[in-house]
């Protein structure tokens, strides 16, 4: 072991004695490792942001839709009540309907996207209410025109967030309804998922029963409803129980009319896509590592030729084949390891730089790179491995030299 350290020391001494050349040799490895680290950090960072913001919005959500377009298998309010009562592990169920309208305030004229929904909407909203509250069961049942708007919209409409109790006169089709604001939603924390722009409609959420005043009839059947599973509930069990219940209630056993989409399915698809992109780009970057490795091999071959005499001297003084081999192998391994470490630092720096630039150019895409320890460890081992792999040929060449041949050459 201590003998091994001696060879490592020799290798270091020689790298130090040829600083410029050693650095140039490292360059290929530095570029390769730093691009791999950069791509992985950026990819993981993007994945984290997407996962977080999507999980914030939709974790535990299950959508059920009727795949029948004749309208005879639509989902009714009674179905919704039945699901809520008979299936365990469901926190909330809702259906919604929307209509666009318009309104005027002292700040100007706005288009409105009106969303009629059910009291359980409070569970679906992961960001929560900043002021006031969502509507309750009583207001829902009696069709009270009470509304919840977002903080951004409150500012657009009134220049203030302190708007609970104010009225909104919104015209849907020909009827104007006066809503009372009872709640203001917190702004969504994830900038990536909020696409509020100048002319986007004001979103107003209210009991779906209010639509009765607009359409004249009750909105009672839906193509799609959303369910929210309790945090630790098994969404697959819920899906199958709801499916059975619905098929029983509509007498369509086994016809697969009611389809489900689980939010975690979406998540895994998104993750798979991001992973694939990351792996693909990393592979491209890894090619430069191989090129870097070949560079190391070239320089080591040149070095062996140049140092033929040194090898001869060492052998004459008693160095064995193995000693020379280890010395030259350590040299290439140390060069690539140092290159790898510099590459890791540059890669992390580069990832922050790029995400910083992206954040300045497009603030809505702002995200921090995620530095993965396994990626760093793998990169270090891999670069060392490249040094050993591409160092074997030159080192063997050096080690096999006969001392007398090596000494004779000037």
């Amino acid at each position: 072991m201590s003998q091994f350290l001696e060879y490592i020391k020799m290798a270091f001494a020689n790298i130090r004695a040829n600083k410029g050349r050693s650095f140039l040799t490292m360059l290929g490895i530095i570029i390769g490792i730093s691009s791999v680290i950069m791509v992985i950090s950026l990819g993981n960072g993007a994945k984290n942001v997407i996962t977080e913001s999507m999980a914030g919005i939709g974790a535990g959500q299950i959508a059920m839709y009727s795949s029948d377009d004749t309208g005879s298998y639509q989902i009714t309010s009674d179905d919704i009540d039945a699901i809520r009562e008979q299936v365990d592990g469901i926190k909330g169920v809702l259906a919604q309907d929307s209509a666009s309208g318009s309104m005027k305030t002292s700040k100007g004229e706005f288009t409105v996207s009106g969303i009629g929904t059910m009291p359980d909407v409070q569970y679906f909203d992961k960001t929560g209410i900043e002021r006031g509250r969502y509507f309750n069961e009583r207001e829902y049942l009696s069709g009270q025109p009470v509304a919840v708007i977002s903080e951004e919209d409150a500012i657009r409409l009134f220049g203030s967030t302190n708007v609970v109790g104010m009225d909104l006169d919104i015209t849907f089709y020909d009827s104007t309804i006066t809503f009372t604001i009872i709640g203001v939603q917190k702004p969504q924390d994830s900038s990536m998922m909020s696409f509020v722009y100048e002319d986007s409609p004001v979103q107003v959420t209210f009991p779906i029963t209010v639509f009765e005043q607009i359409y004249g009839t009750q909105v009672d059947s839906f193509y799609m409803v959303y369910m929210l599973a309790e945090e630790d509930a098994d969404t697959y069990r819920i899906t199958s129980e709801v499916s059975n219940l619905m098929e029983r209630r509509h007498q369509c056993k086994g016809e697969d009319i009611y389809q489900f989409e689980n939010f975690s399915d979406y998540m895994s698809i998104v993750n798979t896509v991001v992973n694939m992109v990351t792996v693909f780009v990393s592979l491209v970057a890894a090619i430069s590592l191989v090129v870097g490795g070949i560079g190391v091999m070239n320089i080591m071959l040149v070095s062996v030729t140049e140092r033929t005499r040194e090898i001869g001297i060492r052998k004459a003084l008693g160095a064995k084949t193995g000693s020379i081999l280890v010395q030259f192998l350590s040299e290439s391994a140390i060069i690539t390891l140092i290159g790898g470490l510099i590459g890791i630092v540059c890669g992390i720096g580069g990832a922050y730089l790029i995400s910083g630039i992206v954040g300045i150019v497009n603030p809505s895409l702002n995200f921090a790179p995620a530095i993965s320890i396994p990626a760093i460890v793998t990169a270090s081992l891999f670069s060392c491995g490249i040094g050993i792999f591409f160092g074997i040929y030159p080192a063997k060449k050096a080690a096999k030299m006969s001392p007398i041949e090596a000494l004779r050459r000037m």
Binding site: I313, K315, T321
Partner: protein, 239 residues
């Protein structure tokens, strides 16, 4: 007393087949511990070839070679490395120091390959450099030293591991006369310390400082005699 070096009918043929060169053509010789032997001969006579064989740097085409009682003619590369490391101290015409290393590091090299621990190694290397009068040049690289100083580093390196045999091939070949005198004085001291010194040279003047002279020609020993009139090298010139 057993011979330290015992060579029997050694032959070395370069380029066997076509263009054969019989560089050694049946050499037999014995050298006892503590001798100071000069091997002389004209250019191309086979001196360096003999030195390579005696130093286990190369293997003979045929013949036997016992070094310190051990048959080394059939050994493999790594075993020969060990023999060179333990039995022989080389001094070459071209010094053969490693340019990246300081004098001290160069002297430590054979000790590293002998697996001497760092502290002991340093001690032996310093002691050895003192013996050749270079204790104040230990941290100099070869390029920062004169030829004579470089050759003294090489001698220190040959001494450091305290091998029984010192093999010097034209040690003064690249040096001016003043440095040559210095080198020869050191070699003589080594001999007086009880070491076996084998000196290869084509210079009769230098050979005169040895107690025994072996003259070779065309790969054969032409003469092997005791030098009745050992002269200190350089002494004659002064007179």
């Amino acid at each position: 007393m057993d011979a330290l070096v015992d060579v029997r009918d050694m032959k070395k043929i370069y380029n066997p087949g076509e263009n054969e060169v019989h560089a050694l053509d049946g050499v037999s010789l014995q050298i006892t511990r503590g001798e100071f032997v000069a091997i002389i001969g004209q250019s191309g006579s086979g001196k360096s070839t003999l030195m390579n064989m005696l130093g286990c740097l190369d293997v003979p085409t045929s013949g036997e070679y016992y070094l310190d009682g051990r048959d080394v003619s059939g050994l493999g590369d790594d075993e020969l490395s060990t023999i060179r490391n333990e039995e022989i101290g080389f001094i070459f015409q071209g010094f053969n120091l490693i340019p990246n290393l300081t004098a001290l590091e160069n002297v430590e090299l054979p000790l590293i390959y002998r697996k001497v621990p760092a502290a002991k190694r340093h001690e032996l290397a310093v002691e050895s450099l003192k013996k050749v009068g270079l204790e104040n040049r230990m941290d100099h690289k070869p390029a920062e030293m004169s030829g004579g100083q470089q050759q003294r580093v090489a001698i220190a390196r040959a001494l450091a591991a305290k091998p029984p045999v010192i093999l010097a091939d034209e040690p003064t070949g690249n040096l001016d006369s003043k440095s040559s005198i210095e080198i020869m004085r050191i070699l003589k001291e080594l001999h007086e310390d009880g070491r076996t010194v084998i000196l290869i040279t084509h210079d009769n003047g230098i050979a005169e400082s040895a107690k025994r002279i072996i003259r070779i020609m065309d790969g054969k020993i032409e003469a092997d005699y005791i030098n009745q009139n050992v002269q200190e090298y350089g002494g004659a010139k002064k007179a």
